[in-house]
Symmetry: D2
Subunit: 327 residues, 4 copies
């Protein structure tokens, strides 16, 4: 089901090459100031048209708010955002119909939906859907006035030195290849007690949303996988004061699934863009033989660049949902 | 909320030191053969009483099935499992009431519930709750007859050589310390097409359950964080046949959130047991001063040992829930 | 929350005088033939522009399907329908801002949303929202190929003789008054076993949807309230054959919440349209005094006329949701 | 699914003749005073052992609270209630295995679950399950401190004169027959604004729960079906003051699905107990012939007597769920 959330509920719809992508956001308290302009800064971060590593496909990416808003304030009714899809070039994808792209959803979508799925541009499996998630995330942040988000791209293709990122991306473009990347999101100011025990831990709800984002294959909180390689005596976060602040933050601001008042820190792993210009090989179902594959069009050299704000939106949505539930 | 699942729905209840821990499992097809004995092998794997790295607290861990079963078959009504809590030693925890244990949920639980939470043994934040999850997972596997699970503890405290695990654990015990660990779970035979687009991807549903397990701070699928350090040309999984098998499995058997027919592979990071025998320091809310802390009782040197079968149960529950939904 | 359903999930959005009313329908099996034209017959039944008892406000009521459809078949992605709102005359409602209409949602909406609600035409509390429900119901019927729906307006204002309905409605129009009505919906061919025990009985799911429809104040199944006035020996439905057919159908085709293979029969009570042309009295919050009220515009003399197909849609949606769940 | 509720979530389990019936109640705010004794008055009202019209089967009906409670206060964890089933006489039901009781769930349950259902005493379709609902309702009332419930049995078998009820019931017992009844529940003091628009109207949520109760075949709010027989000019509730009080209450305290501050009033129709001592006829699946049926055991002459407090519990649970959601 294309819905998520308990107190703040998202319903996502649309396809990469359909007329519109949209999202219904239910649960926004009435009276929240909102305008389409409020959503543009995060949408611009996602669009990344100017970045050397991102695809130059430039959607207008301007949301139309078609419900739930009156005189600049939310009304308590669901807020619906629509994004027109423009710049569609379905011919880019014609060659792909009969042999699936490696590490894409082409084959799983066809299997799941008996071939009735919309294959154009990946259909509803496209990264295009995240435009709606980012806009929803911008709204979620308005519901979290005391929280500051800091998001960084910490690695591209294994390189952690930001000074080298542009050079790496230019090289990937030249070679027709792509690279993965790691994004870190920190949320400062999360109220202690946010989150639910067991199934709706902060980690569970945030990871549920994060793993919905195309290309994310790993999520860790605090020290994450590094904690697995430590001892308890070095990993435990010593408590510093009555407010629960700790001297270290290996738990990433979460104990027992509940925010402890320290910064919530997470990192996500984006795999390399599977669409690359380099010649590949796939399987041709018509001939029953291997077949060469060249993917046309221009694609992100590293989806983590544009994905950073998407991951941030996911955390904001998780925290807003949990915060709006009763404590 | 202590419920999870759409077609297979779990409702968890109980506390570490209450009379019982239990789980209601709804959605099991009528006519499924089931007995309490079926659940014992996985429960024995979780109990780990004989392992050098696990706590010797030995619950009876024998489930009573109190609803939904007649003449050895499920009836279509919810199946409820109850586990009696025995071997309770509340005095172990008396010293902890006024100064919280580092990296435990003591402080977040007290903050969230205004001090009304049950602090005994961690209450509902205790690893004790996972006894019910493991039993539910054993039932989930009965609903997935074609799937084989293979689960391994791949690292303890940064060491990946299994020959050294016993030695490491003995050393941790001697020093009164603990270590984290990494568990890998593979599921072979998952039907291609299992999983839902976007919010209910296989990764999202599995990670939601996995991050509910106390101590898990990282989850990755396929190549995971390693994929983020690669190029697309090396990470893409070339398709080998019409069934969608691939020559490599960096995507961990999932594309676009949907199972692609290859093995589903995931790894989870367990942090070190926060309860250690070594003296620690915490904050005493009564005095407003730092305060020494010694945690009594015996605790797991590495919760990943007992956690392995819990992670496997989480994946089984996620796959059963997704499989029982209509395709 | 403006969502409903488990296997077939509806998300409703929009307001009477906003740009659009819409609905997202998730869970439609891929490959279902669908066109906008398929939805027009039921929408025409709801529009009722030609009927003597219905408002002449004529929306275009033509849905645009903006997602989930490709080449005349559903794709497995959510299907989204948009209806443009035209013929808006907000000036009709200007007089109402400061004194609420009796038996309308004006006052409860303002109370619930702190005055931020959209008051124009009742906002999201308007009967206009049911245009989306009727279209969704038409889709639901496509998922229930063996089921025939028969819906009748059985009473208007206490009169059960259909020959007198036109006369009654003309008289109500003349007097500027309105009347309530009773609608009966029968579904023939519902598979025995449809429905869930206890909370998701056929009655529960259908009534949940029916009571969402503006103006419905009563729902009964089978003999309903009449059964409460009988003895068991006269009310029990004697079983006639191995398929569960019964000689009478006082249970309305449902036992223990589960369809028994006989016709499902329900009746709903629509209250009289609260908007009447006759002068009324209300309370003026500015003066703290009673105040005369004249409601401008034209309104349905009896909403049960247009409501009949809405009630039918609700039953179709309930049955489709229950049928798509696993048995 | 045997779960219901959003902010106050119920999960029901057990069968009439299994060892236990129980319910998990999630969402109760931590710190709510609670004891098993608190639940006894409503349970006594349901038991009705002393009433002339109710079955003398006397369960102990004393709940054991096995989770979520510490030192007389809820902890924030789910509260689980268990009721032991005693006084089981399965031999009463032996004769029913091969020919189904008219107007019971015997046949639908067998059809739905492929014969694997628990037939003893109706299994999970038994009125026995309502013992848990009544106890949950008693807890719900504790969460609604300003609300007073008034519940009356207004009709038995068509007779509205309470002075004649005992006589009627005695006569039904003598004749081995049963009768239906009508129960009215009023809730005074419901906060204006309680309820959600459209799908989660007060009527929708309450009716969903009410129609889950075995034997209820009709639900109406305010004037209900009588309103359908009136004109708008006589049915509209004129507003009397700024708080929204009205001179009449034909809307039963609800406009647009939202509580308007007046009393919430509903009536439910219970059908006659289908188990009667009079000889009946059914169909014998083994012989393919009609077959006489005599139902052994003692049964309620009118389930509305014991059902009254169950209906009240359903309304309390609906209001508590809606009240705990954010406004």
């Amino acid at each position: 089901m294309n819905s998520f959330g308990t107190a703040l509920r998202l319903t996502l719809f649309g396809e990469s090459h359909g007329p519109q992508v949209g999202i219904v956001i239910d649960g926004i308290p009435a009276g929240t100031p909102l305008s389409e302009e409020d959503l543009l800064p995060d949408l611009a971060r996602r669009r990344g048209g100017s970045s050397i590593g991102s695809t130059p496909r430039t959607e207008q990416d301007r949301p139309a708010i078609v419900s739930g808003l009156l005189n600049g304030r939310t009304t308590g009714a669901p807020v619906t955002l629509l994004f027109a899809n423009s710049n569609l070039r379905p011919q880019d994808y014609d060659a792909l119909r009969n042999h699936c792209r490696p590490s894409h959803a082409d084959m799983t979508a066809a299997a799941k939906y008996g071939g009735y799925n919309d294959p154009r541009g990946g259909g509803m499996f496209s990264g295009r859907m995240t435009v709606a998630l980012v806009a929803a995330g911008a709204i979620a942040k308005k519901l979290l006035p005391g929280i500051t988000f800091t998001t960084r791209l910490t690695e591209i293709g294994g390189t952690a030195d930001p000074d080298r990122f542009d050079e790496l991306l230019a090289d990937l473009r030249r070679r027709g290849d792509s690279a993965g990347g790691i994004v870190e999101v920190a949320a400062q100011g999360v109220t202690r007690g946010t989150g639910e025990p067991f199934f709706d831990s902060v980690e569970s709800v945030a990871a549920h949303l994060l793993f919905a984002i195309p290309g994310i294959k790993g999520v860790e909180f605090g020290a994450g996988f590094a904690a697995a390689r430590r001892t308890g005596s070095t990993n435990n976060d010593r408590i510093a004061d009555a407010a629960g602040h700790t001297f270290t933050n290996n738990d990433g601001g979460i104990n027992g699934g509940i925010a402890n008042g320290n910064d919530i820190i997470l990192r996500v792993a984006f795999k390399p863009t599977p669409s690359i210009a380099l010649p590949q090989e796939t399987f041709d179902a018509r001939t029953g033989q291997p077949s060469p594959l060249v993917i046309q069009g221009r694609h992100d050299a590293c989806i983590a660049l544009r994905g950073a704000v998407v991951a941030e939106a996911a955390l904001a949505l998780a925290l807003a949902d949990l915060s709006l539930r009763r404590g």
